[in-house]
Amino acid sequence: MRRVPQYVALLAYVAFLAFPLLWLLSTALKTPQEMALTEPTWIPREPTLANFTDAFGEQDLVGASVRSLVVALFASVITVVISLPAAYAMARYRGLVNKIAIGWVLVSQVFPFILIIIPLFMILRDLDLVNTLPGLVVVHVTFTLPFALWMLQGYVRAVPPELEEAAAVDGAGRVRSIVTVVAPLLAPGVVATLLFSFISSWNEFMFALVILQDPEVMTLPLTLVRFTGPEGVARLGPLAAASLMATIPSLIFFAIIQRRLKSGLMAGAVKG
């Protein structure tokens, strides 16, 4: 009985967290006629998937998804490939460089984006990379790098150096011991970092807003925002449907790392 207040509180939290999501789902399944009713309905009377097909027809959503996918793939792979050796160095050799690198990871969190994005925009413009996807890839790699580095060096640190020594004693060369001993143990961490970088890029809005101005090169978040024109209520259905679809990659990502979240926030990355 004394648990009643606790259940009431839990229910309130669930309601607060769930109701915008349910509303989004409900809006995505409604017909335009139902949307125009003065009394909005919770459960669509005639649920329809027409909004999803409509969404694909409008605003080049397919093109935008493909572009987002390409940018996110390139950005995440490049990020991991260039941060892996550095993360290895950070975890294995302690010294001044290591401290500077960690300091940079922290500083990059505090400084407002605007300070970086103005000069970055000017640099990219001089390189003729404004309004191009490679330009956005460069920016996404740079801004995901600090956290990816941080995550990866945590994973490297979790692999005992003794294993490498043992391999060396057995006559394996440096490269061979890394490939055969460290790499397999590191694989889950690399996958997690890859996914993290992919999602950061897929979701990213501000840099894309500055760098991509032509509708023909816009990524998914930008295209979604363009949906909310002055056209009014009729287009809310397709908008909701498209928003749901844009969330799918992140939901898959979080489903995969759920277990990790339960045991603390990126425990591998935080462990010093």
Binding site: Q6, A86, F113, M122, V138, V225, T228, L236, T247, L265
Partner: protein, 304 residues
């Protein structure tokens, strides 16, 4: 085991003995290089360049002679009413979102730690906002706040245009900010709660401490380092917020939700005042560092 043995035995390489620097240092630099180059070119470089721009009259156009103007931008900033109102809005937003987010997340984390029934559902739900792109969160809440087809007016029986109302727009986006940022904070606090040693609670119970007393004297002090860390991070993230509010209101109505980053964005990319916008960013960075430094310093002193 000796100190040298903690490192993998290095295979010999012919180039290794050429210069005075140790082979290890050189190896470290080689490993660092691929990450270092883009960081220097596209991150450290631009940051320094940006700080430099703050002291010039740079315009964000191709044809403009940039010249050094010293602290002129800073003087302009101090007398710019629009900046001060934006700064004030940013402060209200960042402080209230951070504080409310923390309180809400602490409550939820405590509940989830109680092993109640259905807490699995709440646990999953509390992670969902984290998994959503900020743009989608913004669009979703636009649907909730929509004056005609929106849910909120229907629930409350009101006819308010929430995001276009001069006095309601800021509270409305603060609610969205709390919704969007609560999950991270909850997950972090929950992890902290689960690490509080059970013996402390048992000892407290034996000494006759009630639930409330145990919360104040055991839970809070034990959580303290985590609370300080997550509220600091939340504050920094909130004060630098851009995407969510850009999607919701674009800073409107009448600049009532124009956070400092939106103001800087407009200055830089609509009015092309690169120098002035850089000074704005620099000023914000200094304010954030000062607030953070003060907060961390006070917390550390109290912890002693």
């Amino acid at each position: 085991m000796t100190a040298t043995a903690t490192r993998p035995a290095p295979p010999r390489r012919p180039r290794a003995r050429r210069r005075g620097i140790s082979r290890q240092t050189r190896e470290m630099w080689v490993l660092m290089l691929p990450a270092l180059v883009p960081v220097l070119l596209f991150s450290v470089g631009p940051l320094l360049y940006g700080i430099g721009l703050a002291f010039t009259d740079a315009r964000n156009t191709r044809v403009h002679e940039t010249s050094f103007v010293g602290l002129e931008n800073f003087g302009r900033l101090l007398t710019d009413d629009e900046f001060w109102s934006s700064f004030q809005i940013g402060a209200i937003w960042a402080v209230s979102v951070t504080v409310l987010q923390f309180l809400a997340a602490l409550g939820l984390a405590l509940l989830l730690n109680q092993k109640l029934r259905f807490s699995g559902l709440a646990r999953v739900l509390s992670v969902v906002p984290w998994a959503m792109p900020p743009v989608v969160i913004g669009l979703m809440w636009k649907l909730v706040y929509h004056p005609d087809a929106g849910l909120l007016n229907d629930l409350l029986g009101t006819e308010v245009n929430w995001l276009a109302d001069f006095s309601l727009a800021l509270p409305a986006i603060i609610v969205v900010g709390i919704w969007a940022g609560m999950p991270q904070t909850t997950v972090v606090l929950l992890a902290g709660l689960q690490n509080v040693p059970k013996e402390l609670y048992e000892a407290g119970e034996m000494d006759g401490a009630g639930t409330w007393r145990r919360f104040w004297s055991i839970t809070l002090p034990q959580l303290r380092p985590i609370i300080v860390a997550i509220t600091s991070l939340d504050f920094v993230w909130n004060i630098n917020q851009f995407g969510l509010v850009y999607v919701l209101t674009q800073g409107g109505p009448g600049g009532r939700t124009r956070l400092p980053m939106l103001f800087a964005y407009e200055e830089a990319f609509r009015y092309r005042m690169a120098g002035y916008a850089s000074m704005l960013g620099l000023a914000m960075a200094i304010v954030v560092l000062a607030v953070l430094g003060l907060y961390l310093w006070r917390q550390m002193r109290e912890a002693k």
